[in-house]
Amino acid sequence: MTTADLINKIVQVAAALAIFAAVIGLILFLIDKAPKRGRDGFQLVAFLAPALLLLGIGLIYPAVRTSIAAFADNTGNFIGLDNFVWMFTQPDALRTLANTVVWVVLVPLVSTIIGLAYAVFIDKARGERIFKALVFMPMAISFVGASIIWRFVYEYRPEGREQIGALNQILVWFGAEPVLWLQSDPINTLLLIVVMIWVQTGFAMVVLSAAIKGVPTEQLEAAQLDGTNAWQRFRNVTVPGIRGSLVVVVTTISIATLKVFDIVQTMTAGNFGTSVVANEMYNQAFRSQAPGRGSALALILFIMVLPIVIYNVRILRQQREIR
């Protein structure tokens, strides 16, 4: 790119911003000039319309299209529930669903427990910030980056050759044979889950640590005088005090886990029995040229996320009654 190109681009950006400002200004001006009667309704529409329009184009329309496609074959003919029948009968598709369940159970549970324990143990400790940064850092790495890092950890070289994967090297040190980790079903799914946990623990830890600091000291002191030991205090004061954050953490991680795609795609591309719903959705829709099946998987994914979101909202509403 030459300097002239660059200047050109900058001018374009500036022009775009100016046009944006002008349009917004015009809208605001017109709203202001709206007739007194019914002004509220007018303003409501004018302010909501852009957002609603974008939501409609970006979210609602694709959702509707996907839902329709889920009941159609490759050429767009309506075929009823065939795509779903395939999903719940084919061993491969069933395996995908089963894997997803394993992911969704293990990842939120383990990352939240580790994150919570870590947050509790480093709370008010010396060097807390450094300890936090250490665990939080993986959050800053993309799933693909994290997967590449961990693929090295699981890397296999035939026996006798020098091992470059940490896991196999440790095995070799103990005198065992190296293992083709990522191809060993079913442990390979667990190894992929470890990557997700590694990334999500930092998130859980940071949110929960902040929540723990929000529990009033007096409540803990009152509990101390009420005769509780450290564990009882944790169970009866700290955990109820951070319940809202716990629910947010668990549900956020659950949703992220349901949608996990990059890790599986990067590590095994869904082979060797590691596929999950999001990954299979991509494979069916774009590789096997079966958009109907892909859409059906997407719909199932959506239905699986829904109860988590509802639960989240309900708990947050309950919490409001306490605070």
Partner: protein, 367 residues
């Protein structure tokens, strides 16, 4: 139930050179209501927290009964505390809050419910037992905090400014309720407040602290009639005692052109040629006859119905201005701009060493 003893207890915060609580010696008798009072930062709360075990004791010892609890964790001290912001558990109902300590102690469900109900009756909390703290008013929350302490039947109650979050009217009401409740239960109580009125009205005895040092311990009457130093004199009583330095004269101290008698032995004990004299606003004689004591120019008279408070100032020889408050009759009193003359009522002059601030005369009596 038990007595409480502070034996040279000291708390030095890390990184600080001056102790927050400086070797305090204090005995609280079994069943007594002791009030710790002082301005903010005087170490009264820290002392209470040391007794609770929430604050480390760096030096000295603390006893509950005959038991040295200096290094005993809070949970094993058998004390209950009412916190300033009540520290109720927000996710538990009132009944659960009150019964929590019993639950932890392994008391069975029926007995727990019975004891909670008993305390709830005592505090008029019965209708609220199944509510969460958020659904209670400030006064009700305060009572739940009290209930939580009572249910425990502890050896000692600790209260850390439990009334400061209530409005003025409720505070006065609750003040009497707490005091009468304590007398009924007969549990040794240590109560912290910064409000000297609370201290005077509630305590069997009052301990005044300043800068981590115990100034004086005594009954409310003692502290009022015979403050041991200038600080206590100025802190206890409202409006505060008039304190100003005055020249010694032969056989007394000067009050303007008059001389108020003071025993020679007290005068001899003083350092320097001046002493600090104190007269409570309610102990002055205000006269309009020139020459009858210290000349005061009236700035303002506050009428409170039956009484009035005269705010004025005296100008001493050096040209220094001393503010003076005097209680006057609510109907018949001097007016702003007038000059009046002020003398202490016989027997109500407090004399303090100008240098050390220590009290010179025995009782509030003239020589």
């Amino acid at each position: 139930m038990a007595s409480v003893t502070f034996d040279k207890a000291t708390r030095l915060y890390p990184g600080s050179t001056k102790p927050a609580v400086d070797s305090i010696d204090l005995q609280v008798a079994d069943g007594e209501f002791l009030v710790l009072v002082g301005p903010s930062g005087c170490g009264k709360s820290t002392s209470l927290r040391m007794l609770a075990g929430l604050e480390e004791v760096n030096d000295g010892n603390i006893f509950i009964g005959d038991r040295n609890v200096t290094d005993v964790p809070p949970k094993d001290r058998d004390i209950a505390m009412v916190f300033q912001n009540y520290a109720l558990y927000p996710h538990m109902t009132v009944a659960e809050n009150m019964g929590f300590a019993l639950k932890i102690a392994g008391v069975n469900k029926d007995e727990r419910a019975e004891r909670v109900l008993e305390a709830a009756k005592l505090l008029d909390l019965e209708p609220y037992l199944s509510r969460k703290p958020k659904a209670l008013s400030g006064g009700q929350r305060q009572r739940v905090a009290m209930g939580r302490a009572i249910v425990r039947q502890p050896q000692v109650f600790l209260m850390d400014e439990p009334l400061s979050n209530l409005d003025a009217k409720l505070r006065v009401q609750t003040r009497t309720q707490i005091a009468s409740l304590q007398r009924r239960l007969g549990v040794t109580t240590v109560y912290v407040t910064h409000d000297q009125t609370e201290a005077l009205t509630m305590g069997d005895r009052i301990a005044v602290l300043k800068d981590g040092v115990l100034q004086q311990v005594g009954s409310p009457r003692d502290l009022y009639e015979k403050p041991q130093n200038v600080f206590v004199a100025g802190f206890i009583g409202s409006p505060a005692m008039n304190l100003f330095s005055s020249d010694m004269a032969d056989g007394g101290v000067k009050f303007g052109s008059s001389v108020v008698n003071l025993d020679r032995k007290f005068l001899q004990a003083a350092h320097g040629s001046k002493i600090t004299v104190g007269v409570r606003p309610e102990d002055v004689i205000v006269s309009t006859t020139p020459g009858d004591g210290l000349e005061i120019e009236v700035d303002l008279v506050e009428e409170l119905g039956a009484d009035g408070y005269l705010y004025g100032h005296a100008t001493t020889q050096g040209g220094e201005r001393t503010d003076i408050v005097a209680r006057v009759d609510g109907r018949l009193h001097p007016h702003a701009g007038e000059k009046v003359y002020l003398l202490p009522q016989p027997g109500h002059l407090h004399a303090f060493d100008a240098e050390t601030g220590v009290r010179l005369n025995d009782a509030a009596a003239i020589g």
